[in-house]
């Protein structure tokens, strides 16, 4: 009975939304693409016209999440780029209900929204979103509380490994040796001295039903993980590695390529936890040396100064960290796998899957 009601509701939502801009000002010019835009075979939870930089990984991640999650959701968004670039008053790029409160309380606000929905007997899913600053650092306590209280909320962290909105300051998520404006490289320092916080393991230690890492380089995998998390009645967590062309210092056109290299070299392992246990990893078909990943980003430029012996040392350190991840999660694939780093986004011109 509930299921039928849900289906009707979804249908009603789709009909209700259409996909066109509610033209508030009479002056707004109709776009020649409006019609076909309204008929795209996917739900546009995050619309065009947002102010993200060119090649923004977070914008892509959020688009993938919202289109997968569908219209029957409510978003609680932490302060950060995503909030700023999607909701510059008087406009919003969202087609789903959205509230931004503060930097550190997205999880708590989401908890309240979920409690309200529970009180009202509604099944709308609440999604909390934040960057790594709002998740690893300042919002960590609220997130931990939300997980512990077992709210039916999906928390998505768009991990771009620094405070980008304020101008690229180091966060708990910033990788070792990366240069940021508060961990600059110089005579005495080789970028960030500390390690990247292993947040996913900490989340998993909350014994939550589902916690996973994902990457914008693998949209099929992102969608699958969002669907998996949406299906769970309880707290779930998704960290989506999202390159920031500005903060990492790379051409926006390379966003996907760089995100993919992060996974392929082992520095950003794709792992799924259920109840604290690793249940699945994305195998790496051909692990790449970390230098392939590092050398295309300005935040690691100081690691390629041939005159500085520390540069080599830090490169080796990062390689060792990648190797550690590969060993720890057993990431090295055995043969060709449709779910590995090459099989997942193949266009099926070769590989193990036969298309007939």
């Amino acid at each position: 009975m509930t299921e039928i009601k849900d289906a009707q509701r979804l249908e009603e939502l789709r009909r209700k939304h259409g996909r066109l801009a509610p033209d508030l000002s009479a002056a707004a010019e109709p776009s020649p693409n409006d019609d076909v835009r309204s008929r795209q075979p996917r739900f546009c939870g995050l619309e065009s016209g947002h102010r993200a930089c060119q090649g923004c990984g977070e914008a892509l991640g959020a688009r993938l999440v919202s289109e997968t999650a569908g219209p029957d959701v409510m978003l609680s968004n932490a302060t950060g780029c995503l909030e700023v670039f999607t909701t510059p008053y008087p406009q919003s790029a969202w087609r789903v209900p959205f509230v931004h409160s503060l930097f550190e309380n997205a999880a708590a606000v989401a908890s309240g929204m979920e409690a309200a929905l529970k009180a009202k007997g509604k099944r709308t899913k609440v999604i909390a979103q934040g960057g790594d600053g709002g998740t690893y650092d300042i919002g960590f306590q609220a997130l931990s509380g939300m997980l512990e209280r077992y709210h039916n909320v999906l928390y998505v962290c768009y991990d771009n490994e620094a405070y980008m909105n304020t101008g690229i300051q180091r966060s708990g998520s910033t990788p070792h040796a990366a240069s940021t404006t508060t961990s600059p490289a110089g005579q005495e320092r080789m970028g960030k001295r500390h390690l990247k916080k292993d947040l996913l393991s900490i989340i998993a230690a909350h014994h939550v039903p589902y916690a996973a890492s994902a990457s914008v380089a693998f949209p099929v995998d992102v969608r699958r993980k969002v669907r998996r998390a949406m299906d769970v009645e309880g707290p779930t967590f998704l960290a989506i590695h999202s390159p920031c062309p500005l903060g990492w210092g790379h051409d926006g056109a390379l966003t996907i390529q760089i995100a993919r290299l992060a996974v392929e070299c082992g520095l950003y392992p794709m792992v799924e936890f259920e109840r604290g246990e690793v249940v699945s990893v994305m195998p790496i078909r051909d692990p790449k040396p970390v230098t392939e990943y590092l050398k295309v980003q300005n935040r690691y430029r100081h690691l390629f100064n041939d005159k500085d012996p520390r540069a080599r040392e830090e490169r080796e350190h990062l390689q060792a960290l990648a190797d550690f991840n590969i060993a720890r999660y057993n990431l090295k694939g055995v043969g060709e796998d449709v779910m590995d780093t090459d099989g997942l986004d193949t266009v099926r011109r070769g590989g193990p899957v036969q298309v007939m």
Binding site: E12, L13, K16, H17, P71, D72, V73, M74, S76, N77, E83, V84, T86, T87, P88, Y89, P90, S92, W94, R95, V96, P97, F98, V99, H100, S101, L102, E104, N105, A107, A108, V109, A110, S111, G112, M113, E114, A115, A116, L117, K118, A119, K120, T124, Q141, A142, S144, G145, E148, R149
Partner: protein, 391 residues
Amino acid sequence: MLEALEGSMAIAKAVTRCRPEVVAAYPITPQTHIVENISKLVADGQLKTELVSVESEFSAASVVLGAAAAGARAYTASSSQGILLMAEVLFNISGMRIPMVLTCANRAIGAPINIWNDQSDSMAVRDSGWIQIYCADNQEAVDSTIQAYRITERTELPVMVCMDGFVLTHTYEPVDIPDQDLVDSYLPPFEFKRALDPMNPKSLGTMVGPDFFPEIRHSHHQAMVRSMSEIEAADADWQNLTGRQCGGLLSVDGPEDADLGILCIGSAINTLHAAREEHPELRPAKLIKLRCYRPFPAAALCEACRGLKDLVVVERAFSPGLGGIIGTEVRAALAAGDGPMPRIVNYTIGLGGRDIPIELYPQLIESLDSAHDGAFKIFDVELEKLAEEDR
């Protein structure tokens, strides 16, 4: 029907009558009994609500923000450090014009840590854009809590109901908890027009730049000013239903021709009442109970002070380096009024839970003999306890 209830239990029951859909609970003395009692009512099935036992006051405020944004009637309570930890969220809630009610069980702020009553906590967030109502006794706290929901839901301004910690929260008094039917007739179900809704997906909490920010603040201020009539109407309607009223924005008690006024907020007003009765020999005084501190009822205050020669402002908080907070505001309000200015003397009394005994009253009156206009001091300070250089 009157029953003897601890103040915290009375509040818990009053909240129950308001049918909150979400309650966020976090312990802090002296507010703890309120959430404990609510939790017990929930456990006993007497209160159907989503009780969210959060990990901090910051999250408590955030949870009720989220809940109310999602269209739920929400409640939380806190004190002291908890209110300060909430501060960022409190500004956020009001800035977003989200209706909700919070009970502040007033307590001093550390350091040094002190769990006893004064009003430094709610005073610290007086500019947060919340309506602040101060309660003189537990019945007022019950009635004000119920009224607060009506006010907040009509004005879309959050309401902080302030009651003195321990003095009210931990004191048993005979209290009437109104019937559910009566409250239901007074307080219609919550319909939040801007609620998050997939069928009408608005975006709340947008980034507003210089081109609209002053207008946002202006409209907030206007809403606060206009809410005074709602606050008065809520009390008047309540009186029609129950025969009780809490004193609207402020209330004056005392001989019509008295030219001395004593103004205070919170439960101390009742001590002053008792003291005045105890000391009929002293100079007749009007007692002015300032119930609504935000919005600040300047016009009503001018009216109440008309004809006064002397006005003593007694408060339980102060601004170091300035002096009294309420006193300063009262002076400003009267200066802007059209009547002659009384001499205004400003005392902070009872910080950190120091008792305000009836015996203080004669000293208060006597102090006027020597006090100059604008004098301020911590009235009950015992200087001999201080090293010479700290006096």
